[in-house]
Amino acid sequence: MIVNQFLVLGALLFSIGVYGVLVRRNAVLVLLSIELMLAAVNINLVAFGAFVDDAAAAGQVFALFVITVAAAEVGIGLAIVVLIFRNRSSANVDELDLMKW
């Protein structure tokens, strides 16, 4: 196994996630795409960790931190989505354009 194969896979998953974030209208689906991007990051981290093979295992530990933060992000994100849905009866991102000129 060489390190590049994991890096290319990570890049591919990440850009699929980017596509999903840019193209999905439903906020829940946007969040799903973000999870895909985070998974790609994790693959990169663990692959680099195995490649460098340091005693501190920084790659795996940081993958764990990313998972934790991702869980927190999903919790908050879904709470916000629920709140928006309650206020506007819609969870579509493109209808939320209050931040314009």
């Binding site: 980017v18 974030v21 840019l22 193209v23 946007v30 991102v93 493109d94 939320l96 354009d97 209050l98 931040m99 314009k100 000129w101």
Partner: protein, 696 residues
């Protein structure tokens, strides 16, 4: 680590704190001394506990205050017994922080500590025991008050601050305690702040004390810098060794410290705050006058006593101390003769008695002055509590609303009479012994180099004994004899208020015997257990001539009071009896001290300053301003016409128009759609990376 934890760790493990033991009692007494830091800490902790949870407790926080003061009383009495069996003088120092190489001062070490010696044990006992009775009484007196809980928090702070002051082995901690007492007194005097007068009295007490505190600060700074340490024992060591640098500044340092003491102990001319402090609830007056606040000044002089007593040091200050004490004891005693408010009679009486203490200290009689402090604490505490009981029953402070209360309030009547006799100095009550000792010491000082001043003050003090008995007799007759002149039905106070009266009355009877001449281990010996030699000029034997003379004056005062106020006191306008021309208005107006301060000090300073400021403003500043204005007008006309209108405006208008145009184009990019922003973000990131790869 917080100081509290720090202290706890050190006290329980005997850590690396400085221990300055001169007379180590060892054994259980030594253990008591090394845990004595609890004495100031417990009431302070109680203060915070009352503030935090007091309102939820069944007695609204009173139990915490009472428990803490009872702890102090028990601990202090245990120390007293230990000190009686084997004299002890122990100091503990704990370094809190250290600031190295301050300019002009060297290393500044901030320490916390506690000193357990004869003087501090005596003060602990006074605060604890009197405080215990007053706290108990206050539960009955303050029942139903709107700020009951807060009152007891402040009260605990008051006692705790005084204990911090007393326990202080260094001058910095002494100032901390000094100011805690000041703050607590402010809160307590102004306890009923809804009434503007009470507020004003609290502010007056605080400000008067603050003015005098400048003296304390100056003295502490002089001593600390000269000696290089703020520890009292270091200062007194330097004094004992005849350090020449200290000798040079000793006079001014001693005088400055005494000015601080005059403020707290309300000596003339700083006495004006104490009568006004009667605005506080009566238990506050009682504690303030007996144990916690006004004794602080006398205590300070006692604590620094070798500084004043050692020849070549501040011994020149002593004559000032004697004269201030002498003037205060007689002049304020005379004012007490014309007061109608029962609490003010007692307040002026306190001033007078503090004058006695101060005069004794100035005469070099360390023991006599502090012995009077000790006995005075019990009977003055008693008198105030009894007066409070009267006020509680009659709902008025004015003695012209009282009279005949003997029948309605038997307990209050009896205890008040006991306190009055003790104050007047009638054998064998407490006041007799201590007042006689002061007279004997003054006489001794007059014979031993005190000179004319000591002789003068001795005669003032003897005259003062007459005046004391006179005004107390007047107060007793006006309050308890004759016909009742007030409204409503007076009633005896509840038991929670009367039994502290009897407790203090018992102490007022017996407290004098502890220093009876001829005892083998007396108050004199307990008080002498200090780290340093006091050099006490103390008359040990009973001076029969003065004792008889003093008692005769007291009996004469009582007789005069009886003659003037006993018969038909109910019908006559009793104050007419004292309408002596010239003297009466002078006394009525309290020697015009308040007028002097308002019109003589505040007014003249205020007026000229205001006039000077106006003159400066009108003539000097306005002229300068007008000149500048004219010049500026000329300059601005040119600038406006040429530079501004033709040059700058053009540029600014063009810039504004350009910005507006650009904005209306660029704002189309702000769509408000989050995903477009995200797309721009990713595209930008890609462009950046590509840029770096190509050009980096």
């Amino acid at each position: 680590m917080t100081p509290l934890l720090h202290l706890f760790a050190l006290a329980s493990e005997g850590g690396e704190h400085g221990l300055d033991v001169v007379t180590d009692p060892g054994g259980f007494a030594g253990l008591l001394a090394s845990w004595a830091w609890l004495i100031p800490v417990v009431p302070l902790v109680a203060t915070f506990a009352i503030v935090l949870v007091g309102k939820r407790l069944p007695w609204k926080g009173w139990e915490l205050a009472e428990g803490s003061i009872a702890f102090v009383a028990v601990y202090a009495v245990a120390l007293l017994i230990a000190n009686w069996q084997a004299p002890m003088a122990v100091e503990h120092h704990v370094t809190l922080s250290r600031i190295d190489s301050l300019p002009g001062l060297g290393d500044l070490v901030l320490e916390w500590g506690w000193v357990v010696d004869g003087l501090s044990i005596m003060m602990f006992t006074v605060v604890g025991v009197v405080g215990f009775f007053v706290f108990t009484y206050a539960k009955g007196y303050m029942e139903g008050d709107v700020r009951f809980t807060f009152f007891f928090a402040s009260f605990s702070l008051f006692a705790g601050g005084m204990l911090v002051l007393v326990a202080a082995p260094n001058l910095i901690q002494l100032i901390v305690g000094w100011e805690l007492v000041g703050v607590a007194s402010y809160l307590l005097i102004g306890h009923w702040w809804e009434d503007h007068d009470n507020n004003a009295a609290a502010i007056k007490a605080f400000i008067t004390n603050k003015v005098a505190d400048v003296g304390l600060f100056v003295g502490v700074i002089i001593l600390g810098i000269t000696v290089g340490s703020f520890r009292i024992s270091d200062v007194l060591d330097a004094v004992a060794h005849g350090d020449s640098a200290v000798a040079q500044v000793a006079f001014w340092a001693g005088l400055a410290l005494f000015i601080g003491a005059m403020g707290k102990s309300a000596q003339m001319p700083f006495h004006v705050w104490l009568p006004d402090a009667m605005a506080g609830p009566t238990p506050v007056s009682s504690l303030m006058h007996a144990a916690t606040m006004v004794t602080a000044g006398v205590y300070l002089v006692g604590r620094m006593f070798p500084l004043y007593q050692t020849p070549g040091m501040a011994d020149d200050v002593k004559i000032i101390i004697v004269l201030v004490g002498g003037a205060t004891l007689l002049l304020t005693g005379l004012i007490a003769l014309v007061q109608d408010d029962i609490k003010k009679v007692l307040a002026y009486s306190t001033l007078s008695q503090l004058g006695y203490m101060t005069a004794a200290m100035g005469a070099g009689a360390y023991t006599a002055g502090l012995f009077h402090l000790f006995t005075h604490a019990f009977f003055k505490g008693l008198l105030f509590l009894a007066a409070g009981s009267v006020i509680h029953g009659v709902h008025s402070n004015d003695m012209s609303d009282m009279g005949g209360l003997r029948r309605f309030m038997p307990s209050t009547y009896r205890t008040f009479v006991i306190g009055s006799l003790a104050l007047a100095g009638i054998f064998p009550l407490a006041g007799f012994w201590s007042k006689d000792e002061i007279l004997a010491s003054l006489s001794h000082d007059a014979g031993a180099g005190g000179g004319a001043a000591a002789t003068l003050v001795l005669w003032l003090a003897i005259l003062g004994a007459f005046v004391t008995a006179f005004y107390m007799a007047r107060a007793v007759y006006l309050t308890f004899f004759g016909e009742y002149k007030g409204e409503g039905h007076p009633h005896e106070s509840p038991r929670v208020m009367t039994w502290p009266l009897w407790g203090l009355a018992g102490l007022a009877v017996v407290a004098g015997f502890v220093n009876m001449p001829g005892l083998t281990s007396s108050f004199t010996d307990w008080l002498a257990s200090r780290v340093h030699v006091m050099g006490d000029h103390h008359a040990t034997a009973l001076n029969w001539g003065l004792a008889v003379l003093g008692t005769a004056m007291a009996l004469g005062g009582i007789a005069a009071g009886t003659r003037l106020f006993h018969r038909d006191a109910a019908t006559q306008q009793e104050r007419d009896r004292l309408r002596i021309p010239v003297l009466y208005p002078l006394l009525e107006q309290k020697y015009y001290f308040d007028h002097l301060y308002m019109n003589g000090v505040v007014g003249p300073i205020k007026g000229p300053i205001a006039r000077f400021v106006v003159w400066t403003n009108q003539v000097v500043l306005d002229g300068v301003v007008h000149a500048f204005g004219a010049a500026a007008r000329l300059a601005s006309r040119f600038v406006y016409g040429w530079a501004d209108q033709r040059g700058i405006d053009l540029a600014i208008n063009a810039a504004a128009a350009g910005t507006g145009e650009a904005g209306s184009v660029v704002r189309r990019a702000q769509t408000g759609k989050v995903q477009q922003y995200a797309g721009a973000l990713f595209a930008g990131a890609v462009l950046l990376v590509v840029g770096f790869l190509i050009f980096g």
